[in-house]
Structure formats: C-alpha cells, structure tokens
C-alpha cells in the first residue's frame, strides 16, 4: 500500500500561545476529494497553508506522498488556488503562465494549450488588468492546473468564481480525480462541496471534529454535519 497522498501527523499550529490547530491527524488516499468545512477562524486556511508548504506546522508535520512538503520535488506536484487569483495585473496572461510555467518546468506549448482550454487565447497578450472578473478567475484556475498537479489545494474557490468558472473548475476537478489526483477544498458552500467530495472533514476551533466518508445524508441535509459533530453552535 503506497504512502497516502496526504498524511497529517498530529499537526499543531500556534500563533503565540493560541493553538490555531490542535493535533490534526488524517490520511487521504490518492484520487479522493476532501471537503474541509468549518466556521470562520476554525483553522481551515491555516491547515491548507501548511499542506501547501506556505507555512510551517509548530508541532508535527505533513507528508505529501510520503515526502516532506517543503522539499521542492513535492511542491512541483501541488496546485494552489487561494482566495485571490495570484496573478500579476501588469503582465499578460501568457507572461503570467510562462513565468509560473518556468517555475514548474512547464513548456510554452502547454501554456498556450491551457490558454485554449480556458478560452483566453484571444486575449492572451493583453495585460490581466483589462480582464473581466470571470476571465481573471479562469486564468487563475488555468494557473493552478498548469503543471498537472497530483494534489490540488483550493481555498474557498467556489465563493469568488462566477458560474462559468465554477462549471470549468468542476469539470477539471472531476477529470483530475479520474487521473488519480487528490483534492482538498475548504469551503462554506456545503452543497456544492458535498457533490464533489468523497470525504468530509469538519474543523472547529482548530480541532478535527469529524473525518470520514461523505454520506448521502450529508448531501441532502447540509446542516446535519454541523449539528452532529460541530461542537456547540
């Protein structure tokens, strides 16, 4: 049984004395999609940032495919889509993707291929500043999927995207999962997340209250999860 795609081994994260994450422990196999739920401040973004190697755990750690997350080989397999689009307004779409492409060792051909897929080819050479919201979001999605990542970390992606971008993202996510990639998305929209997720995790004040299969019951009644596992309201 190969090492799990994502293994959080007792992750603690302190901001001074305040434990933002308390002994978070879970394993995720390749090809699964984990929906990370929890109120604001429960520690969802902090956990995602640690999984993406953006910040270090105070105690314990995270293994991606058995490898340390800060090892650059591991990070070549991670796709990050944060709250904001993570692109440079003054550069054109092609230049943005070309720059990130070089960091991930991706050829120019793949860049133009991705520009086609998110149908931004016609505006590829004008600066991102002039793009509409939808176009910027589609370009952000293209950047996250550019290097064919094995692990996708999405921080509340569904809130800021318009419906066309959401459709594109869901298509890409299901395709990626079919290809054996693992997905972790933190979100408030329980309904959309439930459709995609194969597993659900609930964080409350830094503690992992629940981690398990996504049952049909959770899909029909979004509030069910919070009531049963969410600690006091």
């Amino acid at each position: 049984m190969s090492a799990p795609a994502v293994a959080a081994a007792g992750v603690w994260k302190y901001f001074g004395d305040y434990p933002a994450l308390r002994d978070v422990r879970f394993d995720l196999q390749a090809g699964e999609c984990l929906a990370l739920l929890g109120r604001n401040g429960a520690g969802k973004t902090t956990l995602l940032r640690i999984l993406g190697g953006l910040s270090g755990a105070s105690k314990g750690g995270v293994l991606i495919d058995g490898g340390e997350v800060r090892a650059s080989g591991t990070r070549a397999r991670i796709g990050w889509l944060g709250h904001s689009i993570g692109l440079y307004d003054e550069l054109t779409a092609r230049e943005n993707l070309r720059t990130f492409g070089t960091l991930y060792g991706v050829t120019a051909a793949t860049v133009s291929d991705w520009l086609e897929r998110v149908n931004l080819a016609h505006v590829a050479d004008s600066p991102v500043r002039e793009y509409s919201r939808g176009m910027r979001q589609r370009l952000a999605v293209a950047r996250a999927f550019l290097h064919g990542p094995r692990l996708l970390l999405l921080d509340e992606p569904l809130t800021s995207l318009d419906d066309k971008a959401i459709a594109l993202l869901q298509g890409l996510l299901t395709a990626a999962r079919a290809g054996g990639a693992t997905i972790i998305l933190s979100t408030h929209q329980i309904r959309e997340a439930m459709e995609l997720a194969s597993r659900v995790a609930l964080l409350d004040r830094g503690r992992l209250m629940h981690f398990g299969e996504r049952t049909a019951q959770m899909l029909d009644d979004p509030g069910y999860l919070y009531r049963t596992y969410g600690g006091e309201a």
């Binding site: 993406g52 953006l54 270090g56 692109l87 307004d89 003054e90 550069l91 990130f100 960091l103």
Partner: protein
C-alpha cells in the same frame, strides 16, 4: 541548476513588470537627479571639494534610490497574493530571494549608470578616467544594497509602516558597505592615486557582500514560509 533557472524566471518577471508599469524607475530616477541638483545648490563644490566628498555625495543619492527601489520589491507581490503562489511553487525561498535581489540590482545599477554622467555634468568631473574599476566598485556596492535591501523588504512586507521601517532597519546594517564604497568611489571618481588603504576597503566590501549574501540566502526560507 534549476534554482538558478527559477531565480532567473523571477528576476525576468520582476524586471518585465517594472519596465511595463515603470512605477518605481521613474520616481527613483527623477528623485536622484533632483537630489544631485540640490546638492550642487547646497555646496556649489569646487573641483578639490569634489575630490574630497564626491563619492560620498553620489552614494547618498544611490542609498536613497536603493531604498525606493527595494521597497517596491516584495510590495509588488501583495496585490492578488502572488507571494503565496511563489512560495508554494517548487522555487525554494532562496531562489525566490535571489531572483528578486538580482532584479533590484539591475534596476539600481541602471539608475546609477544614468546618474553618473548627470553627476559628471553637474559637477564637471571627468569620471571616466578609471571607468572599469569605478563600475566594478559601484556594482559591489549596489549588490550589497540590493541583497540586504531585498531581504529586509521581505522581512517588512507585511508591516503597516513598511515604507518607514525598511530604510530605518536597512541603513544602519549597511553602514560598513556604504562606508567602504564611498571611500572607494571617492578615489576612483576623480582618478586620484590609490591611497594605501584602498585594498583594505575593497576587501571589506567584498567580505561584506559574501557574508550577507550567504546569510540572506540561508535565512530567506525562514522568513518567507510564515
């Protein structure tokens, strides 16, 4: 090798977005020329005065220009949280830092090469007598400023009063480098005979560069991974 390629990609990105928006080049260039002008009103220097403090004067202008350029270095990553994408990419913190430092170095050195003739005109100094040594010394001094400046730009990028904190933290640390590069520039600028301690200042400057480049590259990862 890939680390250098990553650094080069980041440096190219920084330079391209800088030349496209020109947000810090224009202001820094005009600022430097204005300061040079003001100095000539303030001192109205005669040639032998220039031989005495020409280097110091030039480097005061470059130090201010450096602070302006370096301040924008990591501030450019804040809109759209591009810093998160860069840190989550395979590029290590060190190559990320090196790329940005090289971009600052290129911008700063460009501005210095423009300021030098302007300085020559304002103060009628024939600065090209020992041109290559002068450019070499300017490059060393500029790298010291770019390296320490970029590191402190990364250190202070999230602070509220960043524009104030960066120069205040940067200049005292840079004093040995600025002191030695002022001494060196002074002698080279007016082509005077090399004084006995010329080699001493040169060794100090090179030592400073080596020490602080290694320190910055080694500690970059610590401050970028929050």
């Amino acid at each position: 090798m890939t680390a250098l390629r990553h650094a080069a990609a980041i440096a190219a990105k920084d330079l391209r977005s800088e030349f496209r928006t020109k947000e810090s080049i224009n202001s820094t260039l005009s600022f430097s020329v204005v300061i040079l002008l003001l100095f000539s009103f303030a001192f109205d220097p005669s040639p032998d005065m220039i031989a005495e403090f020409g280097g110091g004067l030039l480097w005061i202008v470059f130090a201010f220009a450096g602070a302006l350029i370096v301040n924008r270095s990591f501030a450019r990553e804040l809109p759209n949280d591009c810093i998160d994408v860069l840190v989550s990419s395979p590029a290590s913190g060190a190559s990320l830092f090196l790329g940005k430092a090289v971009a600052c170095f290129v911008l700063l050195f460009g501005i210095e090469c423009i300021c030098l003739p302007v300085f020559g005109v304002f103060y009628n100094v024939t600065w090209w007598r020992s041109l290559w040594e002068l450019l070499g010394v300017l490059a060393l001094g500029t790298w010291a400023m770019a390296c320490v400046g970029t590191f402190f730009s990364a250190l202070t990028v999230n602070l509220r009063l960043r524009e104030l904190m960066l120069p205040m933290l940067m200049y005292p640390i840079l004093i040995p480098a600025l002191l030695s590069v002022m001494m060196l520039t002074n002698t080279l600028l007016t082509g005077q005979a090399m004084p006995s301690d010329f080699g001493v200042w040169l060794r100090l400057l090179i030592g400073f560069n080596i020490m602080f480049t290694t320190l910055s590259v080694y500690l970059a990862e610590t401050i970028l991974v929050r």
